[in-house]
């Protein structure tokens, strides 16, 4: 079970309590290194179990609610397919913005499709036109088949 340090909870409360919109919460939490650490430290299942536990509480405390939101943003650093599978058909009862946070993540997610190019090294053309794609595409690396590096 995830245990959140009380000092960290205080910090999460500071962000949670002044958030006017789910987008603000998502942006502020996602920019914190500590949120990425939470994602690295725990599995998708651990993070979701914590959120569901708080969501099922009758009267959660402010720190529990703020932690649950921070953890929901940590989920956005995880494998999206696994998260979708674990949250599939779950209806949030108490935590009003979690669904929206997950939706923002889905809307802004950058696809990581791998393309196989079969090209001659001498004829590499870096002007790859992806203008027909609906999402943002970033080419991180072009690997050539005869490139041994």
């Amino acid at each position: 079970m995830i245990k959140v340090d009380p000092e960290l909870s205080k910090y999460f409360i500071e962000i949670y309590v002044v958030a006017n919109t789910p987008t603000y919460l998502y942006r502020r939490f996602r920019s914190q290194e500590i949120i990425r650490d939470l994602a690295n430290r725990y599995s998708e299942g651990d993070l979701i179990d914590y959120i569901k536990k708080i969501d099922s509480s009758q009267n959660p405390s402010i720190s529990e609610v703020a932690n649950a939101y921070a953890i929901s943003v940590a989920l956005t650093f995880k494998n999206s397919e696994k998260v979708k599978e674990l949250l599939q058909s779950y209806q949030f009862k108490k935590l009003e913005w979690i669904s929206h946070i997950i939706q923002i993540w889905k809307d802004t997610e950058i696809p990581t499709t791998i393309f196989d190019f079969n090209v001659d090294t001498a004829m590499v053309n870096y002007n790859i036109d992806m203008s027909l794609s609906k999402s943002t595409n970033i080419i991180k690396e072009v690997r050539l088949k005869n490139d041994q590096s």
Binding site: I13, E14, Y24, I62, S63, E96, S99, D107
Partner: protein, 163 residues
């Protein structure tokens, strides 16, 4: 960010429309009680010196609910705020022309992060910074300098209703 606010069925929504009868999605948050929200005293510690808190914390309405919905409910959707600005005839004005009663909106890369009501014209302040009356999320209604709050300061616009 393009996301539209999804109102879950269990949350209470009021019948709310713009001046042009376009529906405004809204929700009264019941996530935490006002008593529980009083535990957020670190906000007070962090910002308390430079602000005047003028209400108890409540989750029922947010900043946009204070500015555009008379404190009855919360508005969370960027596109609805833009719809209100258009349908209710808000016109952008220059900061130096802002007067008490005009509104200020804080944008962050296109998102509407915060809104408030001007209560002191910038011209009345030595540093030309207006005093703003706003609601900080689920926290309290607060009187603060326009540049002293937890919201992004890179793009701030001022509006007045012109009919």
């Amino acid at each position: 960010m393009p996301s539209k606010f999804i109102l879950q069925p269990q949350f209470m929504e009021l019948a709310l429309e713009t001046a042009e009868k376009n529906k405004i999605p809204n929700a009264q948050s019941k996530e935490l009680s006002s008593r529980e929200l009083l535990q957020a005293n670190d906000v007070e510690k962090k910002w308390g010196e430079g602000i005047t808190r003028r209400s108890n914390p409540t989750a029922i309405y947010n900043c946009h609910g204070l500015v555009f919905a008379s404190r009855r409910t919360g508005l969370f959707d960027n596109s609805s705020i833009r719809q209100i600005l258009e349908d209710d005839k808000y016109h952008e004005i220059q900061k130096e022309d802002a007067l008490p009663g005009d509104i200020v909106i804080y944008f962050n890369e296109g998102d509407i992060e915060h809104s408030g009501i001007i209560i002191t014209a910038p011209s009345e302040s030595p540093l030309k910074i207006p005093l703003v009356y706003s609601k900080w999320g689920k926290y309290s209604e607060v009187i603060h300098l326009q540049n002293y709050c937890p919201y992004h300061q890179s793009e701030i616009k001022y509006y007045r209703v012109v009919r």
